[in-house]
Point group: C2
Chain length 544, copies 2
């Protein structure tokens, strides 16, 4: 391609040897414009936080609602920030599910804070790309330091800390747990393949339970690992992965010529916050040289409290540990904290050393280049927001804040227990309560009578019931009816817009998950939520 | 584990059935505190932009400088924002390499802007997790719309747009090109493996050139693909990947029983911004059913200008296309725009459907769940910042802004050409100029005389020269001397702190890369930079 031709087409270009002083097109980092717009957005967001409890928590829009409100193509000429903010207010806010609402109890929380936000602003404003040390030494060094701080607060074994591990261990800030699992899985894979040859990738096998987060299976898929075991757990064991189940699965795999490499153990599973017993699992893993990653995405935060630290007892036997500070640690999305005992295992898999990045500091081996601890090359100044959270609130306040959520969850659990129509499906451990209208209530209730009157589909429903199949041909039995009623209860509550909860399923039982952790939630919100749940149950079951 | 025991240890917890109203521990989203701190940080950053040209561009700190300025452990009690900002000013800013400085010409730029920053603030402040449609419909829908807008501005074929492709095509916002390459590579891999069986992963082969970005090899490594071809390019062909080189490499691989699956073509390579000829490459790829990804990480932005659009002529034959809006499109880090013709290929590899995420909207198939287009589950409200950039500046201004950088690069190139000591190593195409002190200058100069006097290591250097080896045992020849001098020139300039450039290497020639694109750079900065380069050359070579 001849670039000269291109250049000649552009009248603005000239190849003059004494360049004229050209007029500035625009200044997209004009400090006064930055100041003006920045103050506007700060006020916009402060007002948003003031009003956020009034918005329907789960957005009530229909698919494709937005296209009709926006132009078909990008504007050719600039538009003022005022018009943009008007559009945000008019058209974006109604399409938001308000994760910052005090009435948000869905999934796990995404807990933002003033400190987390300010840290993100500083990072965005400085806009450094911290792929290696020289590209911004402070970005790397603050990350190492803050991860040592937080590792100590969590009482992680010294091998996981940078300063105490002869620099073999240490922490890194990634975006999400998916990345932490993928990076450590690839490290474990390559460690094994370097011993047995890369052609044996098809023989590798990795382990989790049926409660392990979906990111585990996805990471294995991305890493080209076919054999993924989701070992069955049971309610009788609180849905924890039992060491003997792991052992027998490994035995069977080894017998079949497969090669175990990785276990993803979970502290605080997504469905029920169950806790895999690290000590026993690590003992089994050790025997087979299996890399153990501990995914404490949600519950890891709680482990800064002495009374919860025992949840990760046994961590000294693991190879890596991660939790999401954006979930329940006031650090705005995204912030996943990963610690490893031996970062050489990571860097052996993930290092690149292209010419354009070569520099004296890296070659001196005196510095960390975090690009080699993660999937991507580019990375923001990640540590600022976590540093601001730790400093702005202090460890003691952070502990008490987490405890306040656990206390609210206890309160909520107590209220559920007082209403005999409901049952707690799995005992609460942290700030998640899993509950449902109990099967016995539904058996006793006039549910179908009320339900059908409200829905005008009595015959249809009766038919299904009598046929033993629902509309989709699924087998209909009592469990199905119980699940359906609870599903309808959840849907009617979420449709009200007053609170937002989501569901889980264990051993075929649909349950409502009430996950406390949104930063603005206070006890009165929780009590209001419970009253709302009772009202919707009343109208579905018939008031008692 | 018995959680009751844990709970009993915590005096704040009670299981009372009539819950007392408990005092709020703290409010980390207090709107007034948010406002106060927000305004402070905005002013801090506005002041930073005012002063940024005064800071040494490349940080001048030594490894491990920060630990001595910070406490050994996280604070137990809160610290005021004022103290934190003082520490940022005193200890963090000196450790920053100032990517926002007008005197920043290293790597490729990371171009921030007022609009990009404001978009990031809105995204961080709303703090939604947009993994699927229902989790925040606006986050998904705005992304689809904005990617259609930008796709049209780039004149991408209709198949890459959501609205014009029967919804098979479309765009997604990822963090970086590394993710775009990994996602599309995994899609291509699984498409082939679904036909030939997963056990054949060892036979797959992927193609790039020796100029392809290191993220390509890394993505292949992560995806478990062993056979990665870095096809040689030549200066005589402007370091573009030739279709016949590709074809002969494929032939040889196929002959050896390997199975070609993926080509990463580059528009605007890292070293020299060379351009692979898409049309010819896609023709070859088509014959072998090879997925073609076009990585235009840096140069993609320029393609919004009609005079540069021909750089991606032939894109209609590719399967996917990506560029980094955070590089040269005023969108603060990180923002990689990826378009695919067939998103089913992505979602077949990357979908997960755990129970806790099931919802009516997803099951209706009427909506996009972007979690299935990317590696991670969680994602921010990515589209806001790109939407703000497009609206705040308008397409015409954006074009002119990019042109202004190209014009400055032409100016700089003209200045280099005027000084006969220097040579342009590779003809400039966009806003990157690759230059060096020419071999003939060094041959003529008293370089070693001056060099040794300045460095007091005449003997040592002479010895090396005479021995034919340098300190590290490398073969010393004329090329080596030329490279060493240019390396020293670059290092002495970067050590001055007045500008920051980095290097590249092609066919063994070390060259200095002058990459214009930092948002604040104006022509007078470029002219000043050139004068500085001349001064340092004077002192290294002896003034003429």
């Amino acid at each position: 391609m001849e670039m000269n031709t291109l250049n000649n087409n552009n009248n603005n270009q000239s190849d003059s040897s004494s360049p004229p002083q050209r007029k500035r097109v625009m200044n997209p980092v004009d400090p006064e414009e930055f100041r003006k717009q920045g103050h506007m957005i700060i006020d916009f967001l402060a007002d948003y936080y003031t009003k956020v409890s009034n918005f329907p928590v789960r957005s009530q829009v229909e698919p494709d609602y937005l296209r009709k409100h926006l132009p078909d193509s990008a504007p050719l000429v600039p538009e003022p920030i005022e018009s943009i903010l008007e559009d945000v207010q008019e058209h974006i806010i109604p399409g938001i599910t308000h994760w910052m609402s005090p009435n948000y109890y869905a999934y796990f929380p995404s807990s933002g804070s003033v400190a987390g936000f300010m840290g993100e602003m500083l990072s965005s404003g400085l806009n450094v790309v911290g792929f290696n040390w020289i590209s911004s030494p402070a970005a790397t060094e603050l990350e190492t330091i803050v991860m040592d701080w937080l590792g100590e607060v969590l009482k992680l074994p010294q091998q996981f800390l940078y300063k105490s591990s002869n620099n073999n261990g240490g922490g890194v800030l990634l975006g999400t747990t998916c990345e932490a699992v993928l990076c450590t899985l690839v490290a474990a894979r390559d460690k094994k393949l370097s011993q047995i040859g890369r052609n044996n990738i098809g023989k590798l096998v990795v382990y989790g339970s049926d409660q392990t987060h979906s990111s585990f299976g996805k990471a294995a898929q991305i890493a080209g690992i076919q054999n993924v075991r989701a070992i069955k757990t049971k309610r009788s064991n609180s849905f924890a992965l039992k060491a003997d189940s792991l052992l027998s699965t490994i035995h069977s795999d080894v017998k079949n010529g497969l090669i175990p490499i990785y276990l993803c153990a979970t502290v605080g599973t997504t469905a029920t916050t169950s806790i895999d017993p690290l000590m026993e699992l690590c003992d089994v893993a050790k025997e087979y040289e299996i890399w153990v990653h501990v995914d404490a995405a949600y519950a890891g935060s709680a482990c800064i409290c002495p009374e919860f630290r025992s949840c990760i007892d046994g961590i000294e036997g693991a190879n890596s540990f991660s939790f999401n500070a954006h979930k329940w640690f006031l650090t705005n999305l995204a912030c996943c904290c990963l610690w490893v005992k031996d970062h050489n295992a990571l860097t052996k898999s993930l290092s690149t050393n292209p010419e354009f990045l070569r520099n004296k500091a890296s070659e001196s081996k005196q510095v960390i280049d975090y690009k080699d601890w993660q999937i991507t090359l580019s990375r923001k100044f990640n540590a600022l927001k976590l540093w601001l959270v730790l400093r702005s609130y202090g460890v003691e306040n952070l502990r008490n804040f987490l405890r306040s959520h656990v206390n609210m969850a206890m309160t909520f659990e107590g209220l559920v227990k007082l209403d005999k129509r409901f049952e707690i499906v799995v005992p609460r451990k942290f700030s998640l309560v899993c509950f449902r209208v109990s099967p016995s209530t539904i058996a006793r209730s006039n549910y179908y009578y009320y339900h059908d009157n409200n829905n005008n589909n009595k015959n249809n429903c009766d038919d299904n019931y009598h046929n033993g199949h629902d509309d989709y041909g699924k087998l209909v039995n009592d469990d199905y009816l119980v699940n359906e009623l609870n599903r309808k209860l959840l849907e009617s509550i979420n449709n009200s817009g007053k609170v937002y909860m989501t569901h889980g399923e264990v051993e075929g039982a649909f349950m409502i998950r009430f996950a406390i952790g949104a930063t603005l939630t206070e006890e009165h919100h929780v009590i209001m939520a419970w009253k709302l749940i009772q009202e919707h149950a009343d109208s579905l079951l018939g008031s008692s």
